[in-house]
């Protein structure tokens, strides 16, 4: 078991290094002049020269890569020995010359909004998706089932920015049931907080719930045909506890796996919902950075997303190992 965990962790470290390397290549080989793109559109030739020197762009590739990589672990100083010296502390993912901020700090500042959107949406989609899946499985073949599954296919097919615009137009502009979304703390104004986040939650949940509904339905139908279900019925247990304890529980393990994989696409979804609703999270920052060509920010967010996915996958694997005795056996 311990050797399995160590093996997984080692694999994760290798993947992270590969991701860092790949990202570095994208930005420093494919972009014609990194200094110009870092500098952005509003930029003077003087600033470009200054940035070139600060980034050490005349150095060979591996020297630059080492500076970037070591910067992540021990921090780095841009433009050492010059008047405009900038220190970027330990997890240094880069420095945005446009925002004049450490990219990591910028991400940390904006992370609470993104996490609120992600966690709230996840709760909503797991509850609604699993519930819809269970109902479809139990009432298999009825109109309930067909309706829910058609709705699930539609949910997967709806572009989330389009749903976001429709919701905002109907609920805020036309019906005026909700105020315009604005970031407030939960403790400052709980009602406003809820009113702000309910739309992003719904938009993301609609997209993901479909997958959970379909998956729960398939697994549940398989489980309902198992021998132990017949035994439970024969023992004279009441139908509802049978469904929940014997039918639903074994159907949920694949759902855990799916949840881990969805971390991979969640930040992308947050990027779009934050942008449409004007909420100042990590995703919107990345979106604005695309517009102003602020490469360090895009690169930093990309790396952060990749790290999050890798860590989420390990957590899922380990949870799975702890949950399912069969998996535990095979990793010994």
């Amino acid at each position: 078991m311990i050797s399995y965990i160590l093996k997984r962790l080692l694999g994760a470290v290798v993947t992270m290094l590969a991701v860092i390397f790949f990202t570095f290549i994208i930005f420093f080989y494919l972009t014609p002049d990194p200094a110009a793109s870092i500098c952005g559109d509003a930029c003077t030739p003087d600033t470009i020269v200054q940035i070139r020197r600060q980034l050490g762009l005349e150095e060979p590739f591996f020297v630059q890569f080492w500076a970037f990589l070591s910067g992540i672990f021990v921090g780095r100083t841009y433009g050492e020995g010059t008047a405009a010296e900038i220190y970027c502390s330990a997890p240094c993912l880069g420095y945005s010359f446009q925002y004049r901020t450490d990219v990591f700090d910028g991400i940390v500042d904006r992370l609470p909004v993104t996490i609120t959107i992600a966690v709230g949406a996840a709760v909503l989609w797991i509850l609604s998706g699993v519930a819809a899946g269970v109902i479809s499985a139990v009432k298999q073949g009825t109109w309930w089932d067909r309706g829910a599954m058609m709705f699930a296919l539609a949910g997967v097919s709806l572009p989330n920015y389009f749903v976001a615009l429709v919701l905002q137009y109907l609920l805020v502009v036309q019906l005026q049931w909700l105020p315009f979304p604005a970031v407030v703390g939960f403790t400052d104004d709980p009602t406003r907080w809820f009113q702000t986040y309910i739309m992003p939650w719904t938009v993301l949940a609609l997209m993901y719930a479909s997958m959970y509904a379909r998956l729960t339905r398939t697994n549940m139908i398989d489980t309902l045909g198992e021998n132990f279900m017949r035994t439970a019925h024969a023992k004279g247990l009441r139908p509802a506890p049978i469904m929940l304890r014997h039918g639903l529980r074994p159907s949920l393990t694949p759902v855990v796996t799916l949840l881990g994989m969805d971390f991979a696409t969640l930040l992308g979804g947050a990027l779009i919902t934050e942008t449409v609703f004007g909420l100042n999270g990590v995703g919107r920052w990345a979106y604005n950075a695309i517009g102003t060509n602020d490469q360090p920010v895009i690169m930093g967010v990309t790396l952060l997303a990749a790290f999050a996915v890798i860590i989420a996958n390990i957590v899922v694997d380990l949870t799975y190992t702890a949950l399912d005795p069969r998996v535990r056996e095979s990793t010994k």
Partner: protein, 317 residues
């Protein structure tokens, strides 16, 4: 957008689309062709494909090109909002006009269909080509070839694909955007196809008919092209049908974010992005491309879903 592909779901389900089973008979295909949802999907896709293929003729019929300005259709005193109710819908402009410059929304939808479909179909073809080739290679060769390809697939699938596509597309300078989109979309999608094909190739190689062919002295190439490839065709057709809507949605999403198709070339996602500042005063501007995008993706998904069910049940439906 970034619709998690059904290949991922199947992985979790533990059954591959098609499952390497017998191709369905004509009767099974006829059964799904009788479902109203499939009929509507096919009809809608025929219309959209027709629009895309015959775009120049269609717009000649409607009277306005996709890049033509019509200042007489917008009201400069309201900041360029379309004249008339419903976003300027008239006999002249069937779906209304864009605010400020008065470009015809119908013409842009027609040309946008062209761009979206072309990118999605090319990306699907490339993804299937790479996925099937590498998947078969990994499944047959085994050993270190399999190990290298499998590691590469794990690596690419662990990536947050959308964020990386944005990173690559924003880093690469202008150039041929549609071609670049096709390449980037395929780069992150082939592993899903390859993984399924690899699994099937491994199981098919050990089936009796392949062993029989091998025993009767068939060469390696004959085995691959005559015995194994035809048996994978079901899987490939199902995966391709489900890949097209994923690509249409992703291309639209990337164009919405401003890293996809660059104006003035119209694309549905980009049209929605341009409509964002106007969403409250001119809702049809985002609703028209949004509905087209949704219905196209939805139709392809329904088709793929039904094909998958038919193949998974081995021709019984």
């Amino acid at each position: 957008m970034a619709v998690p592909s059904s290949a991922q779901l199947e992985e979790v389900d533990g059954q591959a689309p098609g499952g390497g089973s017998k191709p369905p008979g004509a009767s099974a295909l006829k059964t799904i062709l009788r479902k109203p949802s499939v009929i509507f999907s096919l009809a809608f896709l025929l219309i959209v494909t027709g629009m895309a293929v015959f775009a120049p003729w269609v717009t000649q019929l409607s009277g306005w090109g996709p890049l033509q300005f019509d200042e007489s259709a917008v009201d400069s005193s309201t900041g360029g909002l379309p004249l008339g109710p419903w976003g300027g819908i008239s006999a002249d402009h069937w779906f209304g006009v864009e605010p400020q410059n008065g470009r015809d929304i119908f013409a842009r939808i027609v040309y946008g269909a062209r761009v979206s479909m072309l990118i999605a179909i090319c990306a699907t073809a490339l993804t299937m080509l790479i996925g099937v080739t590498l998947g078969m290679l990994a499944g047959f060769a085994g050993g270190w070839v399999d190990a290298v390809i499998s590691r590469l697939m794990d690596f690419l699938m662990a990536f947050p694909a959308l964020i990386f596509m944005i990173a690559v597309l924003s880093a690469v300078p202008q150039g041929n955007r549609p071609l670049l989109l096709v390449l980037v979309l395929s780069l992150f999608s082939w592993p899903q196809t390859a993984r399924v094909v690899r699994g099937q190739a491994m199981s098919i190689t050990n089936r009796e008919f392949v062993e029989a062919a091998r025993a009767s002295g068939a060469g390696r190439m004959t085995l691959v092209f005559k015995e194994v490839l035809p048996n994978l065709s079901g899987t490939v057709i199902v995966m391709a049908t489900l890949a097209v809507p994923t690509f249409i949605a992703t291309e639209a999403g990337l164009s919405f974010l401003g890293v996809g198709v660059i104006p003035p070339t119209p694309s549905w996602g980009q049209m929605i992005a341009q409509a964002v500042p106007w969403y409250a005063s001119h809702p049809l501007f985002f609703a028209v491309p949004g509905i087209f995008l949704f219905l196209t993706v939805f139709s392809f998904t329904i088709l793929g879903d039904n094909l998958q069910k038919v193949w998974a049940s081995g021709g019984r439906s």
